[in-house]
């Protein structure tokens, strides 16, 4: 711990760098788009120097909520991924890969099929689904031979989410109304969301943040091993349960409004650990700017790649994330957590 000061300073620099990059990307996300509101017109509108009604609408009603949604979703998914990885001690544990997002997707599909449509209800239902998914993951991680092998847990998760997606599509076939309502949502996108939807998920995110702050020290102690943590006076079971609830709150809220966005929870903590080291507290802080940076960056790409139409965000994150997954698995020794 002799060089703790310099590490902390280094971390500060990294954090600031990520923050600046995030600010740039946010601005770019307001300026760049698929429509015919160009960057210069958008900039003028932002600075209040343009009276173009269409540009005002595009910038403030379409791109601003989208950017904010990207901020929220990115931070939530990044943090959720880091937490899930810490609690299962598995560098590959990602909410999307392990079936947590698919769980909330199925829950929402069931709720809509049963006749609900209210936005707030959808969020809590999605969170319940995510919680069920998380508990399944924890149970699977307890199974002999599975928890100790990170790759096997991921495989089980992939099988699990494949099953849940099949059940969801079965439900969609049953009910045309459900299908119309959630077909586009199932792909995963932050486009076309309203300000109301952004504010609707804020309470859950705040609650999750409080829960995380309560157990963060214990979680860091848990990384030293179960016995050490108990010896230090922490209660591993309680910590795990709290973390799982927080993950469910975050993933459920995000999935409810943005659909399942894959691989963010893998890529972001991976980068954060590479930059900040394996201490969960530092990695979590770094996930906060890195998550939105990734999501909004990918979102901008999704508008630009296939102009004049747009690519669903989930497609793009899969293309970015799958190579990272392969790279992590290919490494001779999996980084242990």
């Amino acid at each position: 711990m002799t060089n703790a000061g310099s590490t902390r300073a280094g971390l500060g620099v990294t954090f600031c760098g990520a923050g600046i990059a995030l600010a740039i990307v946010c601005l770019a996300s307001l300026l760049i788009g698929a429509g015919n509101t160009g960057a210069d017109l958008a900039l003028a509108t932002l600075l209040g120097q343009s009276s173009n009604e269409e540009a005002r609408f595009v910038v403030y009603e379409l791109r601003l909520p989208r950017m904010l949604m990207g901020l929220a979703a990115g931070a939530a998914l990044g943090v959720a991924g880091a937490l899930l990885q810490a609690v299962t001690r598995n560098p590959l544990a990602e909410p999307g890969l392990l079936g947590v997002s698919a769980g909330s997707g199925l829950a929402v599909a069931i709720a809509i099929a049963l006749g609900s449509s209210a936005t707030t209800l959808r969020i809590s239902v999605a969170q319940l689904g995510a919680l069920a998914g998380c508990l399944c993951v924890l149970a699977a991680a307890r199974t002999r031979g599975v928890g100790s092998d990170p790759i096997r847990l991921v495989l089980a998760g992939a099988a699990f989410s494949g099953l849940l997606f099949a059940l969801t599509s079965l439900l969609l076939l049953l009910d045309q109304r459900t299908a119309d309502e959630i077909r586009f949502w199932l792909v995963g996108s932050i486009a076309g969301r309203s300000m109301d939807q952004v504010t609707a998920i804020l309470p859950s995110m705040a609650l999750a943040a409080v829960l995380i702050l309560l157990v963060i020290r214990s979680l860091a102690a848990l990384a030293l091993g179960e016995r050490t943590a108990v010896g230090l006076g922490h209660r591993p079971e309680l910590v795990r349960l709290t973390v799982v609830v927080a993950v469910a709150l975050l993933v459920g809220a995000t999935t409810a409004v943005a659909g399942p966005i894959a691989f963010i929870g893998l890529v972001v903590p991976f980068a954060a650990r590479a930059l900040a080291g394996s201490d969960i507290r530092r990695a979590l802080w770094l996930c906060l700017p890195l998550g939105p940076l990734t999501v909004i960056g990918a979102d901008i790409l999704s508008r630009v790649v296939v102009q004049p139409s747009e690519l669903p965000l989930g497609v793009l994150t899969a293309m970015l994330g799958a190579p990272v997954l392969v790279a992590v698995v290919r490494a001779n020794r999996l980084p242990s957590l």
Binding site: L92, I151, L155, A159, A262, S309, V315, A318, V329
Partner: protein, 362 residues
């Protein structure tokens, strides 16, 4: 091949011996020839064939209009009433044949792949081969720049995905879970490529290509079934010829080589067959790759030892037409794509393997 015969000699008896080893029948042929038949495998095959016949007749009879077996059979030969003739020969029979062929091809591909990678999970559906084939076939349907016929494109796509998975796995080898996760990654990339292409085109073209993404027997492109049938005509004998070598390949490489097996060539042939059969099956039914996992597993449970290639083909065909029948009958007039039924059955099975099994070699 000669060396293999010697290697398996403990399993056989000299031609002159009066007794067959346990669990086998000795069939004497004219002249001094004789054939040793594995009792359990034969019974399993007979059982599967019986089930296959029953399910086939059921799927000809059941539907929005129910026919009696007699009517259905008369329809097959064009001797029944005009309506039944049309329904059976134009709608149900082609679909049944497509399901049988596609299921058999998927399962044979899966069985070959499992044997050569020595990994139960290494089936085309899981390591991304059918996603690759689907992506390329969709590219051809929606008319991207390079356009060949869908079967040819599917072959190229399957081969690309295979090369990527095996190439990326490189040092990690094919035995463990790493190989599979790499395959899942490759499959995810191709899956999103498919989505990308569907997002770029007009909605009706996207609808035309939609069956490719779930797997259904409802929208078979013309000619694809014929191509698959030709592929199977070549593939089944070729696969059966490989069975004994593949059985030896289950041992470690040095053992197989010392038994006189040309390991590299056998692997390449088996891989080529597996990719070809899977890609052709994808052009008929879309990505229903879990059949390639479950067919061989069922066959292995039933027939015990060896590489149950023929049994896998039977089990795969049975699984496919049974799932299609269930999908058609579940909620008429709607039709549940066979890919969804297979995923709902196969998902838990895959989970069970992953969570319970200690052993990954087939």
């Amino acid at each position: 091949m000669h060396g293999v015969d010697h290697a398996l000699a403990f399993n056989r008896v000299p031609v002159s011996a009066p007794m067959a080893p346990d669990g086998t029948w000795l069939l004497r042929l004219p002249g001094k020839r004789s054939v040793l038949i594995d009792r359990r495998a034969t019974l399993a095959s007979l059982l599967l064939i019986g089930l296959l016949v029953i399910t086939s007749i059921l799927s000809l009879c059941l539907g929005t209009v129910t026919l009696s077996p007699g009517e259905a059979l008369a329809g097959v030969f064009g001797e029944g009433p005009a309506m039944a003739n049309f329904m059976v020969s134009q709608l149900r029979l082609p679909r049944l044949v497509a399901g049988l062929l596609a299921g058999a091809a998927f399962a044979m591909g899966g069985c070959l792949m499992q044997s050569l990678a020595r990994n139960r999970l290494a089936t085309p559906g899981i390591i991304g081969i059918d996603n690759g084939a689907t992506a390329f076939a969709v590219a051809s349907v929606v008319g991207m720049t390079v356009s060949l016929a869908p079967p040819a494109m599917a072959l190229i796509g399957g081969a690309t995905a295979t090369a990527l998975t095996f190439g990326l796995a490189g040092g990690a080898g094919t035995r463990g879970y790493r190989f599979i996760v790499i395959g899942i990654g490759v499959g995810a990339v191709f899956g999103s490529l498919t989505q990308l292409m569907l997002a770029r085109v007009a909605i009706d073209v996207a609808n035309a290509a939609f069956p490719w993404t779930v797997g259904t027997l409802n929208a078979r492109p013309a000619g694809a079934v014929t191509t698959l049938a030709i592929g199977l005509l070549i593939g089944v004998p070729a696969g059966m010829g490989l069975v004994r070598s593949l059985a030896v390949l289950r041992f470690a490489d040095p053992v197989a080589i010392s038994l006189g097996l040309k390991v590299g060539r056998i692997r390449f042939l088996a891989l080529f067959l597996a990719v070809g059969l899977t890609a052709l099956a994808v052009t008929v039914a879309g990505p229903v790759g879990l059949v390639g996992l479950m067919g061989p597993e069922i066959a292995r449970q039933l027939s015990g030892r060896g590489v149950p290639l023929f049994g896998s083909a039977l089990a795969g065909a049975l699984l496919m037409i049974l799932s299609d029948l269930v999908g058609r009958m579940l909620m008429p007039p709607l039709e549940v794509p066979v890919g969804i039924i297979v995923a709902v059955i196969g998902g838990p099975y895959l989970l069970w393997i992953l969570l319970r099994s200690e052993r990954m070699t087939p």
